[in-house]
Amino acid sequence: MTVVPTTGTATPVAAPVKRRRLRFVANPKATTGLVILGFFALIAVVGPWIAPYDPSGRSSDLLQGPSAAHWFGTTHLGQDIFSQVVVGTRSVIVVGFVAGIVATILSILVGVTSGYLAGAGSEVLSALSNVFLVLPALPLMIIITSTLPETGTLTIALVIGLTSWAWGARVLRAQTLSLRGRDYVEAARATGEKTWRIILFEILPNLTAVIASGFVGTVIFAVTLEITLAFIGIGAGSDWNWGTVLYWAQSQQALAQGAWWWFVPAGLAIALLGTALSLVNFGIDEFVSPRLRGGGKSNVKTADGHTVRMRVGFTPVLATKTRSEGRETP
């Protein structure tokens, strides 16, 4: 990673957009996250074809541990858990992304509008997002979904998307408020630019990182919520997802029977997907605020052989000789 001086003493060089974008991809955290995410996305697409068994299909291998035939073992009905996890990936990814997209669109609409427009309308929108923010999501989802006649993957995704936009809206509102006062926005307004043009071309491009990070955050939230709902038996009808696997494991007393393989793979898959999404978000955070970036090497060797950690407040001294020879011409 290149080290960029963080104080104002060195002239900041305006990096072209393309280079900045490359730097995001070059971020090791973001790359790792994207690779894992890509892996799950691939499974989500091809899952039903590569699964060795029908996830609901019963067999005579009841409650078997992992073996060559059943990598993750079998359930009390002889169903192949590996196939359940692989096939269930699609539902998880679909809910995550559909809910993420719905919530992100809503959060942009509410957040940017309430941030850009002043007055009572703005206050009402802001209060609305705060209300949605403090309402406990899980119980709310439960009373909504339990009264719905049908709770397929898409319904769950839509309900999550429609209820979880508030966080993004709040962040976007704050960002828009600060952007609104910037010189170039003021200038655009002064020259009589239309409001929608200002929002579209002056405000939104500067919110890209915030929107992206809000989207990823919502995907994490939605995935966790879907799995949690499935675990307590909501939306566990026809579609397999990782939460459904855990629901059956719990309701069939997998623990009491020592069938650890029933719940370990699905849980690890959730944690891995969550980690991947968090890594992408760390990448975005570090991209936006360079202070968070690891400074590459953080330990330096001094002239007398000690290793000193670079830290705020005590600049390391590498050598105390009075003159540095051989550095006259760069």
Partner: protein, 336 residues
């Protein structure tokens, strides 16, 4: 000439390590004498703030000091090298001997603590046996010194105006009666009227208390008025150093000349404002030879090849205590 209180010798500061390192300060020699105001001027990126933070070892990562000495001469004692101190010694040394007033007055105060807390904690840290009553009395005295009424002790920073906050910072800098006060653009964020009030007060305080000041700014006209001597920095090096009157009357380095013409003089004859064409050098890709030669109206072939050495100019002989690093004014051979 008075004796030295702070001597910087061959200071080198990098940002980063190894081949990626940016050389922000190169071989800087500078002496601060007792009781004087030394001005440090240059465009942003010239290294003047890095120099100030570097000599107190307050540069944030990835800043590293790659060489040099910073000698502090205590009253009647042997000089000590700030760069060789361990953390505990450095902690004791800080503020007691050299205090700093930082660039952004707005952000220098901790927003969650009262002014009194921030004035007294430094006294307590350096004199743990002091009583809280004596510390509070001292804090009151310090506020009085900078012209703020004592009932402001209970205020939080956000309740003070920008000018007041900067005064508090100056008062805080004087808490332990240091010999050296470093001021990094202390008035840049303030409006002109407040700026001048504070500077006048500062001059007064210095005369009363006798500390030395390193005054950093990009506003050379301000320095001409308030400082005894001025050092001009460019591309991480000092390119000219002279008494302020000499520098104002007869700048030798073309860069100093350009800087002087970038700001309207507050007093004295009017000059035509011309500024300097081009922009400060990219520290990551410094031009060969004299760093200023791509922007210099008088550049010669030699300027693009050899780095000029800082020394007494051969064409200005005499007792004038001034140095310059420019091939237009080559260094005297015998004068050193």
């Amino acid at each position: 000439m008075t004796d030295a209180v702070l001597e910087i010798r061959g200071l080198n500061v990098d940002y980063g390590l190894g081949d990626d390192a940016v050389h922000a300060i190169r071989d800087v020699d500078l002496t601060l004498h007792r009781g004087e105001v030394l001005g440090l001027a240059g465009e942003s990126g010239s290294g003047k703030s890095t120099l100030a933070y570097g000599l107190t070892r307050l540069l944030p990562p990835p800043g590293v000091i790659t060489g040099g000495e910073v000698l502090y001469h205590p009253d009647g004692g042997d000089p000590v090298d700030v760069l060789r101190m361990d953390h505990a010694t450095l902690r004791k040394f800080r503020w007691a001997e050299t205090a700093i007033v930082f660039q952004g007055a707005m952000n220098s105060l901790n927003p969650v603590h009262r002014i009194s807390t921030q004035l007294t904690d430094v006294i307590k840290a350096h004199d743990p046996r002091s009583t809280s009553a004596s510390r509070l009395a001292r804090a009151r005295e310090l506020l009085h010194l900078v012209g703020i009424s004592a009932d402001r002790l209970d205020s939080y920073p956000h309740q003070l105006s920008g000018g007041m906050r900067q005064r508090v910072m100056i008062g805080m800098a004087l808490a332990l009666e240091p010999k050296v006060v470093i001021m990094d653009e202390p008035t840049t964020a303030l409006d002109v009227v407040v700026q001048r009030q504070i500077l006048r007060q500062l001059v007064e305080l210095r005369e009363r208390l006798g500390f030395s000041v390193v005054f950093i700014t990009h506003d050379l006209s301000l320095l001409v008025e308030f400082s005894d001597r001025i050092a001009i920095m460019y591309g991480g090096r000092i390119v000219e150093e002279a008494a302020s009157a000499d520098l104002y009357r007869d700048p030798l380095h073309p860069y100093s000349h350009g800087l002087l013409n970038s700001f309207p003089a507050l007093r004295g004859p009017k000059r035509e404002l011309t500024g300097i064409p081009g922009s400060p050098p990219d520290l990551r890709a410094m031009p060969a030879g004299c760093a200023f030669h791509p922007r210099c109206p008088h550049a010669m072939e030699r300027c693009g090849v050899e780095v000029p050495v800082l020394g007494v100019p051969g064409d200005r002989p005499g007792p004038a205590d001034r140095t310059v690093a420019c091939w237009l004014h080559p260094v005297q051979d015998n004068g050193l």
